[in-house]
Amino acid sequence: MSQVNEMQAQLRKVAAELLENDTVGYIIGWGATRFPDRTTPVFIHEAKDADKLMWNEYCVNGLAKYVLDDKIKAKKIGICIRGCDSRAINRLIIDNQIKRENVYLIGLPCEGKADKIKCGKCAHKNPVIHDVLIGDLVAETPVTDRFKAVEDQEKLTSDEKHAYWKGVYDKCIRCFACRNVCPVCSCKECFADQYRVGWQGKQNNSTENWNYGLTRSYHVGDRCVECGECERVCPMDLPLMLQNRKMLKDINELFGDYECGLSEEDRAPILGDYDLSDRDEFM
């Protein structure tokens, strides 16, 4: 039995126990679709259904966002988390969106999934927080090219950058998949839904699309856990992580080494915290 299959078996066993002994009300995980190379988020409520949980290279979707759907929690929510999901959970805790005691975290070390773009720059394959660990921790590989694409972009002239991003936002269809899938986009009311004339215009053109995309990127800012979900789900294949990583690179340069959501007692949200030693040469 391959290691992945062993993990899947262990996951199902643990899930069944958690449901059986009432530790959790239900478990969010990955389940089968009718296509062998795709999974879909599943919500398992009964121990007898634990066998519907899958663990394979097609468990691509981020799951952390789904813990926000449940407003009134009778019991803990069990959730399967990889490194990326765990960082999102931490950030949701820091942002007071969920309480640590309301979630039960089933950690799954992850060697990277079938989506190479999403997982290519992953620096945290192991869940950084968990209540139970399935399988063994895997070796982390240092990422040397985290900001490589950003550096290449920075070498362009303003005009070249403008042309590049205009091309990007000419293609955007404003389906809001990037926003809705983002585990840390947790505003109850989004600026992009304020369709007053003169605010975020609903017309589709590169100016309005750009306004949406850039504002969103700024607003996610230091909350980006680099899960790559926005880029994965974009039906127009827009390079959204390039934009997010530009934000992160600037944050790193201005405020020191920073990765979001590495612990539940993370340093105060960088962009929400004022420090006398902050650089202020723009003043």
Partner: protein
């Protein structure tokens, strides 16, 4: 009649003389129907474009009228439409235009923005020689190799297309192509979809009766409430009306909207009749599979598979149909 594939560019050039010819092409990484550049051969071998051709009749943003405000307020309808040819449309997308015709052209009011564009549109369909992993049009009552509502049907014979006019407008196209066509006929492949869905008898009516069924809780859970399924759908036609204003001048436009968005049905006082993903997913599936059928006698799903392919959560309308069918059989 036969059109040699070597003469395809000439055929497109003839059509381009008095119309904007939209062909399936990949532009900057996005496969869509785009004005033919007069040079490149259209990508007729791709199964389906990422974006459907609905933009030709129902643009994502369409100006309706210009206005000035203040003491001399004026309203002027945005006029003008050009002739368009949709070339290389698949059966599913051709049927989607039939669906939109029913939505926009029938009922108490017609939609004159749509009807003006529709009157100026020629549809040239091409039969599929193979189907993709997400195609299920034959389960929706379509034939991948024929589009009955197209003006001209092309059938791929390998080196040539068999060309059949299906309407008067189609006959006019064949007239224009007279010098390019040769006598002959042949048998084109008749592919079947791999993805098969069993739609039970009386499905729409039975589904109407399942409004309060627990199935909606289950199928809606993975939904993230984005508009991907509706924007890549060739038949989704919901729109919003909004304005753009600079000083005293502005433009009222309509634009694609999505019933999956949380604010879509929310009223001025804040009440929302479809407050959660359950109600919104239910409304979309019921519109496709029941409401539209009650209004127009056909499904609003053409089996193109785009929503199945592109859903961020891998939600799958074919799986829903099967699940609902099972629930119907079980009582």
């Amino acid at each position: 009649m036969l059109l040699d594939k070597k003469r395809l560019k000439e055929a497109l050039a003839i059509l381009s003389r008095d119309a904007k010819v939209l062909v399936p092409m990949e532009v900057d990484g996005v496969a869509k129907f785009t004005p033919w550049d007069g040079q490149k051969l259209p990508s007729l071998d791709m199964i389906n474009t990422t974006l459907p051709p609905k933009d030709a009749l129902f643009p994502q943003t369409e100006k309706m009228y210009n206005f000035t405000t203040g003491p001399n307020a004026q309203i002027a309808e945005v006029q003008g439409t050009e002739k368009q040819v949709l070339f290389g449309v698949r059966s599913c997308d051709a049927r989607s235009i039939d669906c939109m015709d029913k939505a926009f052209l029938t009922g108490t009011f017609g939609d004159s923005f749509y009807s003006k564009k529709r009157e100026n549109l020629t549809i040239i369909a091409v039969g599929c020689v193979k189907t993709g992993p997400f195609c299920f049009c034959d389960s929706m009552g379509l034939d991948p190799s024929s589009a009955p509502n197209a003006d001209v049907q092309l059938a791929d014979l390998g080196d040539a297309y068999a060309v059949t006019a299906q309407t008067e407008r189609g006959t006019a196209v064949l007239d224009q192509w007279k010098s390019l066509l040769t006598e002959g006929e042949g048998d084109a492949p008749k592919p079947k979809c791999v993805l098969q869905v069993s739609v039970p008898e009386d499905f729409p009516k039975k589904l109407m009766g399942m409004f309060e069924h627990p199935i909606w809780d289950e199928v809606s859970k993975p939904c993230l409430g984005c508009g991907t399924c509706t924007y890549v759908c060739p038949t989704c036609y919901c729109f919003d009306i909004n304005a753009e204003k600079h000083g005293h001048e502005g433009t009222e436009f309509r634009c694609w909207d999505s019933c999956m968005f949380s604010d879509y049905a929310r009223m001025a006082g804040g009440h929302n009749p479809r407050p959660s993903k359950k109600e919104r997913v239910r409304n979309r599936y019921l519109h496709k599979l029941a409401y539209f059928h009650e209004q127009h006698g056909q499904l609003l799903c053409v089996g193109c598979g785009r929503c199945v392919q592109k859903c961020p959560s891998n939600m799958d309308i074919t799986r829903f149909i099967d699940m609902a069918g099972e629930a119907m059989n079980n009582g």
